[in-house]
């Protein structure tokens, strides 16, 4: 291993994994955009009310979990990378729960048939969830890679993480 690479590895002993942590925070930001976008829906039935309520509830859980992951991965804790992958998968699955079911569906509001979610809104919602998931996956990958590199480096130095 050349000197530059070794120094880069050694730097991780004293610096935070800000890239992975930043990506987790970016995932939160895209989730917030999604959160804002779903409010534009025309929910006129109990079914979509429940779906949207559940989505809002999950959003709160997601915000907390993703923030904790951001803090954990910042300190090279590999377990948080696995949580980030799970959160990313859930973000992708969410596309098929609310936006997909609501897309082009109609409900009766004041005796008029209206579309719950128009296509542009659907694309926005889906895009935000995809971007949020992508940030979580990349962040988890970066976190995992660096955590493993740091562990190996510390092991080579005879230190513990």
């Amino acid at each position: 291993m050349n000197d530059d690479k070794l120094t880069r590895l050694d730097r991780m002993r004293y610096t935070k994994n800000t890239l992975a942590s930043g990506l987790a925070l970016l995932a939160i930001l895209f989730d917030v955009f999604f959160f804002i976008s779903i409010y534009e829906s025309n929910v006129g039935s109990w079914y979509y009310n429940i779906l949207m309520g559940a989505s809002i509830l999950y959003n709160l859980i997601f915000l907390l979990a993703a923030f904790l992951c951001s803090e954990g991965i910042k300190n090279y804790k590999i377990s948080y990378a696995y949580v980030m992958i799970v959160l990313g998968i859930i973000q992708l699955v969410r596309i098929f729960i609310y936006p997909v079911t609501a897309h082009n569906s109609t409900v009766i509001i004041q005796e008029q048939a209206v579309t719950v979610m128009e296509t542009p809104q659907f694309i926005r919602c889906a895009l935000y969830l995809v971007l949020s998931a992508a940030c979580l996956f990349v962040g988890a990958f970066v976190g995992m890679t660096r955590s493993k590199q740091l562990s190996a480096h510390l092991k080579a130095l005879g230190l513990t993480a």
């Binding site: 530059d4 120094t7 050694d10 004293y14």
Partner: protein, 358 residues
């Protein structure tokens, strides 16, 4: 490293108060200069002018022959260590030490090597991941020094760096600074009001009072041959005893004492025959003898020495640092003699040396 020349520097504030008068100093490469003096004497102002944190009202400042009088602080290649440490509480020790280099956008690998090297010198390697609040005062001051070391500046400036530490820690950190200076061989300017720090650290001392330089010299020169009464009273602990005395018939006569002069002393004081001068005697030069009677009013045992305070026959106060352990009671009479004397002109306060004119 660097040579620093301060030429005829004055500091006049906007309200016309002059803090520093005609300050001159040539600092050699690798020299540790200590600016010492009481509070308000202008030593910190001088240091801040050198650092570029205060404007120089008059005069010139040269670094390696280059005029830097108008150069902004950031471009002077000097690092300053403050009394208050000035560390960032939300950053780790590593980040604090790396901060100035990060701002300069240096290569992170280079920064890493410099920080580790500085931490090794200062014994901070195991503390690098901690926050300043988790460290002791001495360790925090070492971090502040480390932050300077990583920059590899031409001149290090210390503004009373040990004032916030307790006595024990101050001693230990002082020794560390001395070792650091020997190791780095850097040009350093150090400001303190503590004469012990000045005597133990300095290659040369600049003693200041009321904005004026009183004397520049080695610690021994300032202790042994003070230029004037102020330096004599400021350097040395306990401070020097002063008595008014008249030069008469080969002796000095004061209130309640008469001490004979040696041939050399007679020669020095020849122009002052019949005149009144100030006689200075360090407490450690007041020894047991048979010249003068001292009436004891206080006895302090310091271990190896006993500090005895008393009155001479005429009522003048005197302190004697006697070698050994004594238990004098209030009112006891002790016979003492002056082993070494310093003479000062009564009016000007200037030391009377060989060839002086009255």
């Amino acid at each position: 490293m660097a040579e620093l020349n301060v030429q005829h520097v004055d500091k006049i504030y906007d309200n016309n108060v002059q803090a520093v008068f005609d300050f001159n100093l040539d600092v050699k490469d690798g020299e540790l200069i200590v600016l010492v003096g009481p509070s308000g004497c202008g030593k910190s102002t001088t240091l801040r002018m050198i650092a570029g944190l205060e404007d120089i009202s008059r005069g010139k400042l040269l670094l390696d022959g280059k005029d830097i009088t108008q150069t902004p602080a950031k471009d002077r290649d000097m690092a300053m260590v403050f009394q208050s440490y000035a560390l960032y509480g939300h950053m780790t020790i590593y980040e604090n030490m790396a901060f100035s280099l990060t701002l300069r956008k240096e290569n992170p690998n280079v920064i890493h090597k410099k920080v580790l090297a500085a931490a090794e010198i200062l014994g901070l390697t195991s503390q690098l991941n901690k926050k300043p609040s988790q460290l002791s005062g001495g360790q925090r001051q070492r971090v502040a020094m480390g932050r300077s070391i990583v920059r590899n500046p031409k001149v290090f400036l210390f503004d009373e760096p040990l004032s916030n530490l307790d006595a024990k820690l101050r001693g230990a950190t002082r020794r560390e600074i001395l070792l650091l200076h020997k190791r780095l061989q850097a040009t350093m300017l150090y400001v303190t009001h503590d004469q012990t720090e000045a005597l133990t650290l300095a290659d040369r001392i600049v003693c200041m009072s009321m904005g004026h330089v009183q004397q520049v010299g080695t610690p021994l020169e300032l202790y042994d041959a003070p230029a004037n009464r102020f330096v004599a009273s400021f350097i040395g602990l306990p401070p020097m005893n002063f008595f008014s005395a008249t030069v008469r018939e080969g002796a000095l006569e004061g209130k309640g004492f008469r001490v004979a002069l040696s041939e050399e002393e007679k020669g020095i004081l020849l122009p002052y025959a019949g005149k009144e001068i100030d006689l200075g005697v360090r407490p450690e030069d007041v020894i047991q003898g048979d010249e003068i009677a001292m009436n004891v009013f206080s006895n302090e045992n310091l271990g190896m020495n006993t500090l005895v305070h008393g009155h001479l026959g005429g009522g003048e106060k005197v302190s004697a640092k006697l070698r050994g352990w004594y238990d004098y009671k209030n009112g006891d009479n002790v016979n003492v003699a002056f082993a070494r004397k310093h003479f000062f002109d009564k009016e000007s306060g200037v030391a009377i040396r060989k060839g002086a004119k009255a």
